[in-house]
C-alpha cells in the first residue's frame, strides 16, 4: 500500500512536469533564448553585411554619451506619466459607474468599454493622426471655432506627447476599468452599509472603502501600465510616418523607437541590443521602486 502511494506520487510529479512543460519549452525558445542572445549581441558590432565582432563595452559607453538616448528616456517618461495617471483615474471612475449604476444593459456597456482595446493600434494611430492633423484635422477645426489658435500636434514637443497619451488613454482605459470592476464586485457590501451608517458620502466611500479594498488590483495595473508605458512604440512610430526618428526634432522618440531605429533602419544590431538592456534596467529599477513603496504601504 505504502509503495503503491509512493509510485502514484512519483507519477503525479512526472505528469505535473509534463503538463507544465509546453509553457517552459516555449518560454525557453521564445523568451529565455532571445534574452540571453540580446546580451551576447550587445557586446558585438554587427550589421547584415559582416560577421559579429566582439567590442566589449563599446556599445554601452557610446550609448551613455548619446544624447539621443537621454532625450528618448525623457520623452518616454513624459508620455508614460501623461498617459498612465489620467488613464487610472478615468478607469476607476468608469468602473465605479459601471459597478453602481442601475442602467439597463449592464453586460452590453461592460463589453463596449473593451472595444478600443481590441482595435488595431495601427488603425488607431492613423485615425488619430488625421483627427489631429495640423491643417485639416477635426480637433484643430474645433479649436478654431471655439476661438483658440490651432495646435501643431505632431511638431510640438509637449503637444505630441499629449496626442500619444490620448491614444494610449483611449485604448487602455476600458481594459483597466474592467479589471477594477471585477475587483470592486468582490468588495463586501457590508463595508458600504457600515460606511453609510457612519454617514460617509459616496465620494468618501470610494476613497476609504473601495480604493483600499482593491489595492492589490491597483498595484497590478500600475505595474502593467508601467511596463507597457515605458515600452511605447507603435503610436510614435506611426505618428512620424517618415521614419523612426520620432519627429524631426526627435520630440517623441521613445526608447523602444530609438532601439528599433538603430536595429532595423541603421542596422546596428549590437547598439540596438545595448539600448534594449538599458531599457530593461530602467524598467526593473522603476518596478523595484514600485515594489518598495507598495511594501511600505502594506506595513503601515
Amino acid at each position: 500500500m505504502a509503495t503503491n502511494s509512493k509510485k502514484l506520487h512519483r507519477a503525479d510529479r512526472v505528469s505535473g512536469f509534463l503538463y507544465t512543460s509546453p509553457f517552459f519549452l516555449i518560454f525557453a525558445v521564445f523568451g529565455m533564448f532571445p534574452i540571453v542572445y540580446t546580451f551576447w549581441v550587445a557586446f558585438h558590432k554587427w550589421d547584415p553585411f559582416s560577421e559579429p565582432k566582439w567590442i566589449g563595452l563599446d556599445n554601452f559607453t557610446n550609448l551613455m554619451a548619446d544624447d539621443r538616448l537621454w532625450l528618448a528616456v525623457k520623452n518616454t517618461f513624459s508620455i508614460w506619466l501623461l498617459s498612465s495617471v489620467p488613464q487610472i483615474i478615468f478607469a476607476l471612475f468608469l468602473a465605479w459607474v459601471l459597478n453602481h449604476s442601475r442602467i439597463r444593459g449592464n453586460t452590453f456597456w461592460r463589453s463596449v468599454v473593451l472595444i478600443p482595446n481590441i482595435t488595431s493600434v495601427v488603425a488607431v494611430a492613423v485615425v488619430f493622426g488625421q483627427l489631429f492633423g495640423r491643417e485639416y484635422g477635426m480637433v484643430n477645426w474645433l479649436l478654431t471655432v471655439l476661438g483658440f489658435s490651432p495646435i501643431d500636434w505632431v511638431n510640438g514637443s509637449f503637444a505630441s506627447h499629449v496626442l500619444i497619451s490620448i491614444m494610449v488613454i483611449w485604448r487602455w482605459t476600458g481594459y483597466n476599468a474592467l479589471i477594477y470592476l471585477a475587483a470592486m464586485q468582490a468588495v463586501p457590501e457590508e463595508l458600504y452599509e457600515a460606511a453609510e451608517i457612519d454617514g460617509a458620502s459616496k465620494f468618501r466611500q470610494f476613497i476609504s472603502v473601495t480604493i483600499p479594498q482593491i489595492r492589490p488590483t491597483l498595484i497590478f495595473t500600475i505595474i502593467v501600465s508601467t511596463i507597457g508605458g515605458l515600452q511605447i512604440f507603435a503610436e510614435p512610430l506611426i505618428l512620424d510616418g517618415q521614419g523612426y526618428g520620432g519627429g524631426v526634432s526627435r520630440q517623441f522618440s521613445t526608447v523602444t523607437l530609438f532601439m528599433f531605429e538603430q536595429g532595423f533602419s541603421r542596422f546596428e544590431y549590437g547598439y540596438a541590443s545595448a539600448i534594449a538592456i538599458v531599457l530593461t534596467v530602467i524598467i526593473i529599477s522603476i518596478s523595484l521602486v514600485n515594489f518598495l513603496i507598495v511594501r511600505k504601504i502594506q506595513k503601515a
Partner: protein, 431 residues
C-alpha cells in the same frame, strides 16, 4: 504570508523583465502593411504562387493580370508595404523568408549591392542579352562590382515642375507652360516667383522645403558619396551646400506639410501649395488624389535642368521558391514593350531606350495635365539626366538632412544648429 508576498513581487519583477527583453528581441512589427492580390482569382493547387514585395502598387495590376492569363500556372501575389519598412524588412529577410520578387528603389540600390550575392544572378536567365535595351546608368543600379546582374530597371524619374495653372492665374502669374518654364531658369528665380506668389495670394507655394532639397541634390553626379563610392563628401560637396542653402531660403514660401500625409494629399486639391517637383511617376499620384482637377495641374520644366527621382529594380532573391519563374516574369514585365504600356496607363516613364524614339510616346498628351505633351517633355528630361552615384547609406543621410530642414521650418533650430545636429547624427550612424 509576508514571504509569499515578497516572493510574488519578485516573480512579477522577473516576469516583467522577461516581457521587456523578449518583447525587444522579437519586435519586427512594421507600420501599415497591406496585401493586395492581383487578378482576383484564388490560387489553385497546381499553380505556382510568386510572392512579390513592393513599396507601392507600381501600377502593375493590369500587366500582372495579363501575365497570369498567358501563364495559367502562375499566380502573382503582391504585398505592398511602406517605403522604408519594405526595404529594411527585405534586407533582414534575405536569409530567411525571402519573397520570389522584390522591388528595390535606386536610393537603396547600393545598400543591396553590398549583398548582391543573396540575389539570383539574372544572367542565368538571359538578362545579359537585354542589357543594351536599357539606359546604362539605370541598368547599373542592378549590377554589383563583380558584374552580377541582380536587378532589372523599372521606370526612370526625370523631374519637371507640376504647377496649378488656375492658382497661378489668380496670383497674376503666367499660366502657359512655356512662359512658366521661362520664369525660372535658376532656382533663385524659382524662389523669387514663389515669393511673388505668396505675396499675391497669402498661400504657400511649396508643400515643404524638402522638394527643393531633393531636386537640387539630384542635379549632379555626386551627392553624399564621391562618384567612385570611396568617401563621404556630404560636408564638402558644393552641390549639397547649394541644395541646403536654397532649401533654407525657401522656408518662408513652404507650407511645412510632410509628404504622403493626409494634409499633403488634401493640399493637392485645395491649393495649400501650388507646385510640386514632378517625376513622371508623380503624375499618376496627383491624378489619383485630385481627380476633379482635370486641366488645373500643368507641367513646366524644372530650373537648371532635370534630375532623377526614383525608379526601382525588380530582383529575385536567392532564396526565392521559384527563381526561374520569377526571373521570366520580371524580364517580361520590364520589357521595352510593357514599359511603354505602363507609361500610357499610369505615367511611369520607361527606362528602355526604344521608348524614347517611339512616335506614339513622343506624341502622348495627358488630358488631366491640361493636354501637356508629357511624352516629349519627359523624353527631353531623360536626355538631361546624368548618372548620379547612390551610396550604401544614402537613405539614412538623406533622412537626417530632411529632419534638419524640418526643424528649421518648425522654428525649432537655427540653420547652423540644424546642420550641426544632422552632421553629428550622420557621423554617429554612418561615419
Amino acid at each position: 504570508m509576508a514571504t509569499a508576498k515578497r516572493y510574488m513581487g519578485f516573480v512579477s519583477l522577473a516576469a516583467a523583465s522577461g516581457l521587456i527583453l523578449s518583447g525587444c528581441a522579437a519586435t519586427t512589427e512594421t507600420s501599415s502593411t497591406s496585401s493586395a492580390s492581383n487578378g482576383g482569382t484564388e490560387a489553385s493547387a497546381d499553380q505556382k504562387v510568386l510572392q512579390f514585395w513592393a513599396f507601392g502598387d507600381m501600377g502593375l495590376g493590369d500587366l500582372i493580370a495579363e501575365y497570369e492569363e498567358m501563364n495559367p500556372d502562375i499566380k502573382i501575389n503582391m504585398k505592398v508595404s511602406d517605403f522604408d519598412p519594405h526595404h529594411q524588412g527585405l534586407l533582414t529577410s534575405l536569409d530567411s523568408a525571402a519573397p520570389d520578387i522584390a522591388a528595390i528603389e535606386v536610393g537603396y540600390s547600393s545598400l543591396f549591392k553590398a549583398v548582391a550575392g543573396k540575389f539570383t544572378d539574372l544572367a542565368e536567365y538571359g538578362a545579359a542579352d537585354v542589357a543594351g535595351d536599357y539606359l546604362d546608368w539605370r541598368w547599373n543600379h542592378g549590377v554589383d562590382l563583380d558584374g552580377r546582374i541582380f536587378g532589372i530597371p523599372t521606370d526612370v524619374g526625370p523631374m519637371t515642375i507640376c504647377y496649378r495653372s488656375d492658382l497661378f492665374a489668380e496670383a497674376g502669374l503666367p499660366t502657359d507652360r512655356d512662359e512658366v518654364s521661362a520664369l525660372w531658369p535658376t532656382w533663385e528665380d524659382f524662389i523669387a516667383v514663389g515669393e511673388q506668389y505668396v505675396a499675391a495670394t497669402g498661400n504657400k507655394f511649396l508643400s515643404s522645403t524638402g522638394y527643393v532639397w531633393n531636386a537640387v541634390k539630384n542635379q549632379s553626379t555626386e551627392k553624399f558619396y564621391s562618384a567612385d563610392g570611396s568617401s563621404l563628401i556630404y560636408e564638402t560637396n558644393p552641390q549639397i551646400q547649394k541644395a541646403w542653402d536654397l532649401s533654407v531660403a525657401a522656408t518662408p514660401i513652404a507650407a511645412n506639410i510632410g509628404d504622403w500625409t493626409a494634409d499633403w494629399n488634401a493640399g493637392m486639391n485645395n491649393g495649400a501649395y501650388a507646385v510640386l517637383t514632378c517625376p513622371a511617376w508623380m503624375m499618376g499620384y496627383i491624378q489619383g488624389q485630385a481627380p476633379d482637377l482635370t486641366g488645373a495641374w500643368d507641367v513646366a520644366t524644372m530650373p537648371e535642368g532635370s534630375g532623377n527621382w526614383g525608379g526601382s529594380q525588380l530582383t529575385v532573391p536567392a532564396r526565392a521558391q521559384y527563381p526561374e519563374e520569377a526571373a521570366k516574369f520580371i524580364l517580361w514585365i520590364l520589357s521595352a514593350e510593357n514599359q511603354l504600356k505602363l507609361f500610357k496607363a499610369s505615367g511611369q516613364f520607361p527606362s528602355t531606350l526604344a521608348a524614347y524614339e517611339d512616335a506614339e510616346l513622343l506624341a502622348f498628351e495627358s488630358e488631366y495635365f491640361n493636354n501637356a505633351p508629357v511624352g516629349s517633355i519627359y523624353a527631353e528630361g531623360v536626355k538631361q539626366l546624368a548618372p548620379i552615384y547612390e551610396g550604401p547609406k544614402e537613405r539614412v543621410i538623406d533622412q537626417e538632412f530632411g529632419a534638419a530642414l524640418g526643424r528649421i521650418a518648425n522654428g525649432d533650430q537655427s540653420e547652423a544648429d540644424a546642420w550641426a545636429e544632422a552632421v553629428n547624427n550622420i557621423k554617429r550612424d554612418v561615419g
